[in-house]
Subunit: 305 residues, 2 copies
């Protein structure tokens, strides 16, 4: 990232290698990239930022592959950010999913980036959306952001999307049911995938009832679609529904809600970095470890007046 | 919380109603409680803080019930904090789990608190461990913290425990496999629950191999135990393993790692609250929404020099 501006210019001009290096700089939070941020934002072209989330086993990767295929037939250039939980152990399992994307590996109009969620709470959400902004600047539209797992951090990533697609599957246990329900809160479009399984229609009906009972957030409840990602069934209608949400997503209140979330994440991330850089950081940690100080009082002291 | 100090004194003295009100003040982040924090920390008695986490469907609630039963036979007073993903929809599913705890509802030596994870990233981890500290001050030991779900936020909650028990189950799909692997990173004790199912021994062997291959973090790999929470099989040995970890958990480096995490969470939470209280907050959000400013530059401006 010695020459950030030149790299950005090359990436915007369509050089894939420059784009890859730029994304690495963003992901590593390279200090040189810090100054590049306003330029990246100025270079964005208004791509549709689409989040895809859902409980484990819902078939999100396969669905993203199917969506990519459909967008390609419509002549769109597709950016993909896959957020994976990082672990020294996970390489295998996640790579399995990634292999499914090989179908698009030779297609120069598709750019895919896998990102590890490094356990820095809050950090991943901010970084993901900077990577998405860079893909936007490089001319990809839509940019699909897929999260693995369905915890709070993944919800936060999804919440930063313009249009959030929540993928559900028929017939899951009680606890998955709770996760599903939590996910509905961020849904702009709901998909019941693996709809060739028994119970798909019933699942869709249950989801419709849950959404109708919720009130408030849903002036118009999100559409619920049935898909079979492995065969492509229902994918055309799903892309139509996502496209239909694009303008709604750009209404003033949805834009403000997204901006508020982005700013909250960024404040948390930056303040943590600053606190860790303070000379008294280690001594403060030791005071807490020895139970001489509670963490909240300590944080207030570090943050000053 | 008009009279916080009196409430704390009553709670420490064993009044359950006072304790419940104190916990509500903590959970709501009542400003009056803010001043009470150093007193709560000063009143803690060194309870063993035990986190219980694992993928959906692993039977964590049932295991916590079985652990509670075993600790009670050993004459211990047990505090339980159950962190639930909050949602307007989830009441039913989670309440189902809570009903299983009814067994201990009449036992005055068991105190259980359910907490909603309100989607405030970072906030839940800090608050959970303040609630645990209050239970410690009120004389409960151990304090068991159970998280529903297995996302990043739940991992953070688990990481703040002194001893983290990771619950796995035999035979799960690929994506769950990845989540399992991520969880192993925070494990001090690993449990293969539902060990009456086929494949339990094989799962335990696989886990052992994964842990052996990891190196680094695990000077001594965590013990792996088989349990059937519904029948109580293996629960005595599990409590023995948790107890054996108690002293190890209090070594200087584990205490420092915990304190560092607590402080990071608290810094993020407090700085967010401060930023939102700034007069220029709304105008800054609007600038981001209109793409005139990127969130990170905005955060730096709000945080000042």
């Amino acid at each position: 990232m010695a020459d950030g501006p030149a790299l950005l210019t090359a990436a915007v001009g369509g050089e894939r290698r420059a784009l890859a290096r730029l994304l690495t700089g963003i992901e590593n939070q390279d200090p040189a990239f810090r100054e590049l941020l306003p330029r990246i934002f100025a270079a964005t072209r208004g791509a549709h930022l689409v989040g895809v989330t859902g409980p484990p086993g819902a078939g999100k990767s396969t669905l993203v592959t199917a969506l990519t295929r459909e967008y390609r037939t419509r002549g769109r250039r597709v950016g993909i950010v896959a957020v994976d939980p990082s672990s020294p152990y996970t390489g295998g399992a996640i790579m399995g999913d990634r292999i499914r994307m090989m179908e698009h590996a030779a297609d120069r109009e598709v750019f895919m980036r896998s990102m590890a969620s490094r356990g820095e709470l809050g950090g991943i959400a901010a970084t993901t959306w900077l990577v998405a902004a860079a893909l936007d600047a490089a001319g990809y539209d839509p940019v699909l952001v897929e999260t693995v797992g369905a915890g709070q951090a993944e919800l936060e990533v999804a919440r930063l999307a313009e249009t959030t697609v929540v993928v559900e599957v028929p017939e899951m246990g009680d606890e998955i049911q709770a996760i599903k329900a939590g996910l509905l809160e961020v849904a702009d479009v709901v998909v019941v995938n693996k709809a060739d399984r028994p119970g798909a229609e019933r699942s869709a009906r249950q989801l419709r009832a849950m959404l109708a009972g919720a009130g408030g957030r849903f002036a118009a409840p999100p559409p619920i679609l049935l898909t079979v990602a492995t065969t492509g069934d229902g994918i055309g209608a799903l892309v139509d529904a996502i496209e239909a949400d694009r303008e709604r997503a750009r209404s003033a209140d949805r834009a403000l809600a997204r901006a508020r979330n982005q700013l909250l994440r960024a404040v948390a991330e930056r303040s943590r970095r600053r606190a860790e850089a303070r000379a008294e950081w280690e001594a403060t940690v030791a005071e807490i470890a020895e139970h001489r100080l509670d963490p909240i009082t300590a944080a207030d002291r570090l943050l000053g007046k």
